[in-house]
Amino acid sequence: MIRLLDRWSLDPQLVLGILALSLFGIAIIYSAGQVYVPNPVTEGAWIRQARWFVLAMIAFSLVSRIPLRWIEWAAVPSYVLSLILLAATLVVGEGRGTAAGVKSWLALGPFSFQPAEVAKLATILALAQLLASRESGLNSLRELIAPGLVVAVPLMLGMRQPDLGTAMAFVGIGFAMLYWAATPVWLLLLVASPVVGLFLAYDTRIWSVYILVVIGCLILLRFRLSLFESVAVVLVNFATATISGPLWNSLAEYQQNRILVYLDPEVDPRGAGYQVIQSRVAIGSGGFDGQGFTAGPQKRLDFLPEQHTDFIFAVVGEELGFIGAFLVVLAFTFVLTRLVRLASHLSEDQAFAGLVLLGIFGAWLVHIFVNVGMTIGLVPITGIPLPFVSYGGTFLLMSWVAVAIAVRVAHERP
């Protein structure tokens, strides 16, 4: 296998790391199905995941043969196509399994898949193409408008499904790629400031202090930003603060609950706080060395929510303990840094490849941090899977396609 990968001048460390995570994922999905009262859905999930894994491997070897220029050529059409598909899900989408409330599935004959997963990759490619064509960094808000729109359109479509997790992944993609395209960090922070302000607006005094800080920064940066832009930042900040109340009220009750419960899970221990509390208790009871593979009582007794999909890491924590969690986080860290390392060793004319790598990096970083973080209550609960480990066919397949594209673009000289 390694030789096979070598022959295609691919990156063995990255691929092996991800291969290991994928196999580990199947094992943990198997364990997640081992409960006292068998449930046909979770019991056979690992077999289905293994089947998808085989499919993903085939897709990987096929996609990794695709020449770079084909990929570059396909970037914009695939982006447009994925936007159309995303829009289509809003009309004819279906909910599935544990995410029945989110209309993110599209049926294609006997197949069904999540266009959002395709859209992430297409957006990465399209944005990479846009940014790679630039000679200089992006130093003003005006320059950020075009790349911002490329990300914002699929993001807003994802939000409408409503799938907050996908939307967050797009944010990760956008920021990581803009950063890699040499956008100054302070500019990115200014862009993010209205969103931060949105959350701080629950307390007028805190928000007042915050807006003063933002204005102060704008004054410090007055030579780098046009007056118009500065005023725009302040106005948008005011605007988001104003709509924060109505926006909160427009959220579905379960979405409000998730945020309230994030602040204090015990406000509703049997309702919205249930998942966090049960997940945290299960992970905590794993202790240092865990309850043993397949032996976690909380999982076996069905206390864990969504144990084979979004909360798969709770099974890891309960059964493999801190050691297991540590090693898995380490493996992900390795994969993430490997992507950055690949990107940083490219030559100047490989800007497209670097941006694609960082896009993938951004998406995965958000997925990993939010998914793992929510199992211990660090992050509000969002329906977002853990790459390679969570049960889910489209996601596994697209993640492997992303790996294929990553290694392909990284190792092919244009």
Binding site: W180, R270, V281, G286, D302, L336
Partner: protein
């Protein structure tokens, strides 16, 4: 410089590394805190999460009758319990369950209310049908937080004949939990406790102590197995209870009591005051209440005009009428204002003038001159009017109160009505300030002496009084359970010869020519007693018949009575014809079994002659009555030689 120059890339890569390390570091710190620092705490939380301490109900003690027959025992039953959950999800689950089992909206609301109040598991149905259980188990996944357990279910062997005595059990209510009679140390929600009757009275004996079981549950409330980490405690079964009650006698009374009439029958053992039978008609089946009564049955029982839930034997208050004349007589003898052989100066001519009006005797033909026994035998009102005057109103009130006619019997039941009787002269004015502005007149003594006036007693109370007459004037409190906890008895200060003359009077009632002869004459036993015709609010207006009383006692010929029976039949009209046969048949059934004589449904003389010829035993035991019958038949034949002689009816 190109933004994608390797140097620039390396610098930005460093930023990305830092960001990655920071976020992954945060995760690791979080895991370290929860798994290593708080690991032990979370481990505890995890086990409390899935292990629940369940109450294992103790089997309730069995209730036996005096012959060791079972009145109440336990059979296996199914209990459905819901684990605490949010009210909305519990409501959804319960509403789904209602499709498979009998679960009313009222019951659902009650379960939810308890769930909210206590936040622990709540019994949904303590006696579910097997079919419902099977349906629930089949759809296990649809009913999160529901579990089914086997638990003992109360069963009563007597249906409608003994519901009032045994009472029934039910789930303890929030109100009962708060009350002092169910101490917190022994009782908790979900337990089955005695509600009324013997079940309630001897709750502490029958209950036992529930055990504890630690069970591992999965998140959907399915029992996975016993948890071995904590010690279980076996339940301590309740103690058995032996009653003085005679189950078969109780059943017999139910059988012979007229189906369409209401009333009560009380049978006491004069030897110790033991309650042999305590029957109220119509009755109810205590089994209906086990596991919660259906709302429509409950509704039907409550709106039933005959009030089946009302225990007439211990709660019903009725004017004792002529049965109370024995009390007046006893008091008079005790006071020495009359001697047994003394004849009242004024003969009965059907009425007597006193005050400013005529006081009527029940028999307009009059009874002439009577001594005490004759007056009892004839139930002569005029005699007792004079007796009442001799006793005097004040004396009558004090003595009757001393005997206990304004008290309870102290029977071992949770509820009993107090006899209603004026305990002093002032009572009248307190009760009816307008009517008795100047206090009661002596005329009240006339009313009271014949058992009318403001005098209402329960059938049980009258039975206790007749126990005193059957003994030496003392009567222990009626006791249902052997060695039961009862109130004090009473003492009627009567000399043996006074008792004898009172009994002599009772004998005349059932002797040939007496008002209750035909319905009480038995082959093997002597029955003596007193009829009564109690006025009631409907009968005084001519809208219904009077209540019929008969208070009697029976035993082997020539020996002391061995059973005292009082029968009250609401709107029964005639004590002699309706109530007396019930008493005789009750006594006969009891005594025949006691003396190993085969039981027959044809018992009284009247039943014999209605179904066949005059039996030989009648001729031997009641020669005078036989002669009278023969003579009557002869006369009838003479008058109409070709006709079959009229069958004699009962006395008046």
């Amino acid at each position: 410089m190109n933004v994608h120059h390797p140097h620039a890339l390396r610098r930005r890569a460093l930023g990305a590394y830092v960001a990655t390390a920071a976020l992954m570091g945060i995760l690791l710190v979080g895991f370290f805190r929860i798994q290593v620092l708080l690991g032990e705490e979370n481990r505890l939380r995890a086990s409390s999460n899935r292990v629940r301490t369940l109450m294992v109900p103790a089997p309730r003690g069995t209730i036996y009758d005096r012959n060791g027959l079972i009145l109440a025992d336990n059979v296996p039953g199914y209990q459905v319990t819901i684990l605490p959950a949010s009210v909305d999800s519990a409501r959804a689950t319960l509403e789904r369950m209602a499709g498979f089992m009998d679960l009313s909206n009222v019951r659902i609301e009650r379960v939810l209310q308890t769930l909210r109040a206590y936040g622990r598991e709540v019994v949904v149905d303590s006696d579910a049908e097997f079919e419902s259980i099977a349906a629930l188990e089949e759809r296990r996944l649809d009913f999160p937080g529901i579990y089914v357990e086997m638990r003992p279910r109360r069963r009563y062997t007597l249906d409608e004949s003994a519901g009032h005595v045994t009472g029934y059990v039910g789930e303890i209510t929030l109100g009962e939990l708060d009350s002092e009679s169910f101490p917190d140390s022994l009782y908790e929600a979900g337990m089955i406790v005695g509600k009324i009757g013997i079940e309630r009275q001897y709750e502490s004996v029958l209950q036992g102590r529930p055990g504890i079981r630690h069970v591992e549950f999965d998140a959907r409330g399915r029992i996975v197995g016993d948890f071995r980490g904590a010690e279980a405690r076996a339940p301590v079964p309740g103690r058995d209870l032996h009653l003085n009650l005679d189950l078969e006698l109780q059943r017999w009374i139910h059988r012979i009591f007229p189906d369409t009439l209401s009333g009560a029958v009380v049978a006491l053992d004069p030897a110790d005051g033991g309650v042999l039978a305590l029957y109220s008609a119509p009755g109810y089946d205590a089994n209906l209440f086990v596991g919660g009564i259906d709302d429509d049955i409950w509704q039907a029982l409550n709106v039933d005009e005959r009030k089946p839930l009302y225990d007439r034997a211990v709660l019903g208050l009725y004017a004792p009428a002529s049965t109370w004349k024995l009390a007046a007589a006893g008091i008079a003898l005790d006071l020495g204002v009359v001697t047994p052989d003394e004849v009242m100066p004024e003969p009965c001519t059907g009425s007597m003038f006193f005050g400013n009006r005529f006081w009527r005797c029940w028999d307009p033909a009059g009874h002439g001159y009577n001594n005490l026994a004759e007056a009892i035998g004839n139930s002569c009102d005029v005699y007792f009017y004079q007796l009442g005057l001799r006793i005097g109103l004040e004396n009558l009130l004090t003595r009757a109160t001393d005997i206990g006619f304004s008290r309870q019997c102290g029977v071992d039941l949770p509820q009993e009505s107090r006899g209603e009787f004026p305990d002093r002269l002032g009572w009248y004015r307190e009760r009816w300030p307008e009517l008795y502005r100047y206090g009661p007149t002596e005329g009240e003594a006339l009313n009271l002496a014949i058992g009318q006036g403001p005098n209402s007693q329960t059938p049980l109370k009258m039975a206790q009084f007749y126990v005193a007459l059957a003994r030496d004037g003392s009567a222990p409190a009626p006791t249902i359970a052997r060695g039961g906890e009862t109130g004090e008895g009473w003492e009627l200060q009567l000399q043996p010869d006074h008792i004898a003359s009172l009994q002599e009077g009772l004998k005349m009632v059932t002797a040939p020519g007496g008002t209750a002869h035909f319905g009480t004459a038995l082959e093997h036993w002597d029955v003596i007693g007193k009829t009564g015709t109690g006025q009631n609010p409907l009968s005084v207006r001519g809208l219904a018949e009077d209540h019929a009383w008969f208070a009697g006692m029976a035993g082997p010929p020539g020996e002391a009575p061995e059973i005292v029976v009082v029968a009250l039949v609401e709107y029964g009209r005639s004590g002699g014809q309706v109530a007396a046969p019930i008493v005789a048949k009750t006594a006969d059934f009891y005594l025949r079994r006691k003396y190993d004589i085969p039981v027959d449904t044809i018992q009284t003389f009247r039943e014999h002659i209605m179904t066949g010829p005059i039996p030989r035993w009648y001729r031997e035991r009641f020669p005078a009555g036989y002669r009278a019958l023969v003579q009557e038949a002869q006369e009838a034949r003479d008058a109409a030689p070709n006709q079959v002689g009229n069958r004699p009816g009962g006395g008046g």
